[in-house]
């Protein structure tokens, strides 16, 4: 039964997933176990994305099915199920840039890989990154940007992090449309990622160091 839900969700069989969850809820099963299965399934989705078996439409659809499952299960939850998280990441699209598709994918992949992601959204001023880093103590920061103007916004964000005395407390990755090694050097970030999987690999590497 448990395996059915994991596979059905990982295979993106929406109707089947809804049916299984409804059955398990009416059988008075612990909702936390259902959520745990859903988490396992999302991990598989993440793996399939990493191995280029799945693409963005599949991620979007899996997220949508997961949302439906969470909504079904939520009323039955007595207390919020704490999921073990491997590390904190502050993430956002830098000031002046309102593109979110790429950022959302990296956030999604970090999330299914067990990271606690603080997603600040788009057009995020440098100071807001600084405040969030202080507030959460997150050791990893991700700056996303699609436009060429993002190069400067990223650099300004790095400068603000430095000015706040946080530079040696965080590792910063950048990524997005036109980002290359040259941009990384220019901004002073620690690394850049070509795609969402690069982001996860970097976060895992940096998370392990801490």
């Amino acid at each position: 039964m448990a395996k059915d839900l994991v596979n059905a969700l990982a295979d993106l069989k929406e109707q089947e997933v809804i049916k299984i969850v409804a059955n398990r809820l009416s059988a008075k099963e612990d909702p936390l176990r259902i959520l745990e299965d859903a988490r396992k399934a999302m991990e598989m989705v993440g793996q399939r994305f990493a191995s280029s078996e799945y693409f963005i439409p599949d991620l979007v659809y899996s997220g949508e099915i997961l949302r439906a499952v969470t909504e079904m299960v939520r009323p039955k939850l007595s207390k919020a199920g704490e999921i073990k998280r491997v590390g904190k990441v502050v993430f956002g699209t830098v000031a002046g840039d309102i593109h979110d598709i790429g950022k959302d994918i990296v956030v999604f992949m970090l999330d299914v890989n067990g990271f606690e992601v603080y997603d600040l959204g788009v057009d995020v001023p440098a100071q807001k990154f600084v405040e969030k880093i202080k507030e959460t103590g997150a050791p990893i920061v991700g700056l996303s940007g699609f436009l060429t103007l993002a190069f400067d916004s990223m650099k300004q964000t790095m400068d603000a992090i430095k000015a706040a005395g946080l530079r040696d407390k965080v590792k910063v990755m950048i990524g997005g449309g036109q980002i290359t090694e040259e941009v990384r050097k220019y901004t002073g970030a620690d690394a850049y990622g070509k795609d969402a999987m690069d982001g996860v690999t970097l976060a895992k590497k940096w998370g392990a160091v801490k």
């Binding site: 993106l12 929406e14 799945y54 693409f55 963005i56 439409p57 599949d58 979007v60 659809y61 949508e64 002046g96 840039d97 309102i98 593109h99 598709i101 057009d123 436009l147 060429t148 103007l149 190069f151 400067d152 449309g177 036109q178 980002i179 290359t180 040259e182 941009v183 050097k185 220019y186 795609d195």
Partner: protein, 451 residues
């Protein structure tokens, strides 16, 4: 006697459009007076160079070179994007400076910033523009959303024009609310009951909408006057315009960018794939007509098609073959049939589906290449089509002129062999070092000569 358009073969139509491009008109419709015989010669040489590169029948005298920016010309002239969108003279000055500073083989007009005031009047919501949602010194950016709901495919398929006027437009333009009340015009048939159809036009919200449209129209006309005069001046100086407003899109992107949004269309690929495909088929002739109409009106063969959601990563190869490519190819074939040269821009990275994309007649399309591996493109799509681009934005912004030259050399060595390549930046850019753009153009002219 000259052959009538309807009787021409697609090849003849293409030749005819190139011929019309060779003999440009001024805004009054008369033959354009060039600044000098040298300017006229340069104009014709440039078009011949571009035409030879596109048609792949004979080698051009050298590799042509384009500069295809977004708001770069505006910054380069010391203006803000806000100024360019609200002061049409400044806008034209900026784009003129671009052409004069760098002298590329074609120019892209000054249409990209657009008339900011017209968007203000209409309360346009699909975009945030400088001073209206983004800071005055920044370029405009799209606000994607579900402007068409998941359950509205049938309405779109049944009558696309009516869906746009009565449902889509009121959602993306605050001031077009009144269009929701418009009658279905195909219901105006005979005298019996016909007057009922005119009642909506008497209602205050509809009249307010038309008032806003008249104002926006007047503003657009003012803008078009400035842009038209600019085009004539730049053409007269010897620089042919590349697109002249000719524009079309892949049906998948029409739905994904404009109507349903990325998330919406991706869910539709799973939940209602047949409806999505039917809607794309319905939009196909509309996209063909749009491109052909613009090309014939402007007397210029190239029609620009920015491609977005078919890029690597955005979907699998299987999904690409099922959802993206069939109607995109139909649009391109429809355009080619009318002599138009589709100019798709493969924004982002395209690698795994290049084999699929080479299923096109030779010498009939022109591809803008962003971050795709240029050697791989040359071996696939490059066998049947000319391409331009691949010089990265990051290099133009942060690199040195020498690094730019090295990159251009690599592009010409790899893609210029046998023709079919035009040196250009790969993505629309806002920022770059002017000396890098100059290095790109000058080096292409020097190194790109075919001996």
């Amino acid at each position: 006697m000259e052959k009538k358009w309807e009787d021409m073969m697609p090849e003849e139509k293409q030749e005819e459009l190139f011929a019309r491009w060779m003999s440009p008109k001024d805004p009054q419709g008369n033959d354009l007076k060039f600044q000098s015989p040298q300017a006229e010669k340069a104009y014709k040489e440039r078009i011949t160079r571009i035409k030879d590169a596109i048609q792949m029948k004979k080698l051009p005298d050298r590799v042509p070179v384009f500069v295809i920016p977004s708001f770069f010309p505006v910054y380069n002239a010391g203006f803000t994007p806000r100024e360019a969108m609200y002061d049409y003279d400044k806008c034209c000055m900026a784009f003129k400076k671009l052409v004069m500073d760098f002298a590329p083989d074609a120019q892209i007009g000054a249409v990209a910033p657009g008339p900011g005031k017209a968007y203000d009047i209409l309360d346009y919501k699909l975009y945030s523009w400088p001073g209206h949602g983004v800071r005055p010194e920044q370029s405009y950016q799209a606000n994607e959303g579900e402007y068409m709901k998941a359950g509205e495919y049938d309405a779109l398929i049944a009558d696309p024009s009516n869906f746009f006027s009565n449902t889509y437009l009121p959602r993306v333009f605050g001031k077009l609310e009144g269009f929701k009340m418009l009658p279905t015009l195909t219901g105006i048939l005979e005298i019996y009951g016909v007057a009922f159809n005119f009642i909506p036009f008497g209602l205050p919200p509809v009249q307010a909408t038309y008032k806003a449209l008249f104002e926006a129209g007047a503003e657009a006309l003012k803008w078009a006057g400035a842009i038209g005069a600019f085009n004539a001046e730049i053409n007269a100086a010897g620089f042919p315009g590349l697109w002249a407003g000719g524009y079309s899109k892949a049906p998948f992107d029409v739905i994904g960018d404009t109507l349903r949004g990325t998330r919406g269309i991706m869910l539709d690929m799973y939940r209602q794939p047949d409806k999505l495909i039917e809607a794309m088929e319905r939009l196909t002739p509309i996209m063909i007509k749009m491109g052909v109409g613009a090309a014939k009106m402007s007397g210029q063969p190239l029609v620009f098609m920015p491609l977005h959601k078919g890029a690597d990563g955005f979907m699998s190869d299987e999904q690409f073959k099922k959802f993206y490519w069939p109607t995109l190819r139909k649009v391109m074939m429809g355009l080619i049939g009318e002599g138009v040269v589709p100019n798709p821009a493969a924004e982002g990275k395209w690698a795994t589906r290049l084999e699929v994309m080479q299923d096109l007649p030779k010498g009939k399309t022109l591809w803008m290449i962003d971050q795709s591996d240029i050697a791989k493109v040359k071996k696939t799509v490059g066998k049947v089509a000319c391409m331009y681009g691949n010089i990265p934005s990051a290099l133009l912004t942060l690199g040195t002129p020498q690094e730019v030259k090295d990159y251009v050399k690599k592009c010409i060595d790899v893609a210029g062999k046998g023709g079919g390549y035009i040196v250009s930046n790969g993505a629309f850019f806002d920022h770059a070092k002017a000396e890098n753009i100059k290095a790109m153009v000058d080096f292409a002219k020097e190194y790109g000569v075919y001996k």
